[in-house]
Symmetry: C2
Subunit: 148 residues, 2 copies
């Protein structure tokens, strides 16, 4: 049984380990915990921006970020945006991803969202099939611009 | 001269007109102002989720939504997400889009963001060239799932 809940500050180290345990994340995350703790505090201060962890047998095995974004477009639809999805390498293929998105959907519906959205690096081919299986449509191009 | 500023409740009607004055928006926006005013109020209540308007000679000619999203990924980068970008049909080709993104970038940098991101419906071919010219990289696939 996996249980999803809002992360606490004590979970940030485990979440960072999951972010780093990833083909793309390995190269781009740091090892100093301090900026990640500061980002966690900043998320808490922003309404509707939540870090979720999946816990199984006392271990954090999955994580995602859920951001609730109101807006005028699409008949004033509130959106639930999913970001930074990770499942521990040794725990994949057990349905944890599906359970995580069921959790995200339940939270989105409870918050009155009429749309879920996410972007995925185009090089993650397996993830594309996963999202399409869950009913997501790859209708958009996701643009990024580095400001640093 | 165009001036960008945070929208007030009195601007919501003009913003809705811009959202509707669009190939995709025409089919999917409503005419009743009430849900749009409620969404504007909800945006105000969410920290860092702002509706911006571009005003020229007393007329609202452009709009975008800017959402500041902290998160752990990418070395705890704060992101500035741009959404619902519109320029009035009769005002295109005058550099208003470029001015709007310069405004968004200035706000993003002032808020400590290290990344700007947006998604674009893949059918908007002209917009793709515009974003690439502004230095955005189409590295991601944007997935949407309707919950209604």
């Amino acid at each position: 049984m996996i249980r999803f809940r809002e992360a606490t500050r004590d979970d940030v180290r485990a979440v960072l380990a999951l972010l780093t345990d990833d083909a793309l994340g390995a190269a781009r995350e740091g090892t100093d915990l301090a900026p990640y703790l500061a980002a966690f505090d900043a998320m808490k201060a922003e309404g509707g921006n939540t870090l979720i962890v999946g816990e199984k047998d006392g271990r954090i095995v999955a994580t995602y970020q859920l951001t609730l974004i109101s807006g005028l477009s699409l008949r004033a639809s509130r959106r639930a945006q999913v970001e930074s999805v990770r499942v521990a390498t040794d725990m994949r293929g057990q349905g944890i991803g599906e359970a995580m998105f069921a959790d995200a959907e339940a939270r989105a519906r409870a918050a009155g969202c009429r749309l879920m959205q996410l972007t995925m690096n185009a090089t993650r081919r397996d993830a594309r099939r996963f999202y399409e299986r869950l009913g997501f449509t790859p209708s958009h191009i996701g643009f990024k611009r580095d400001l640093s």
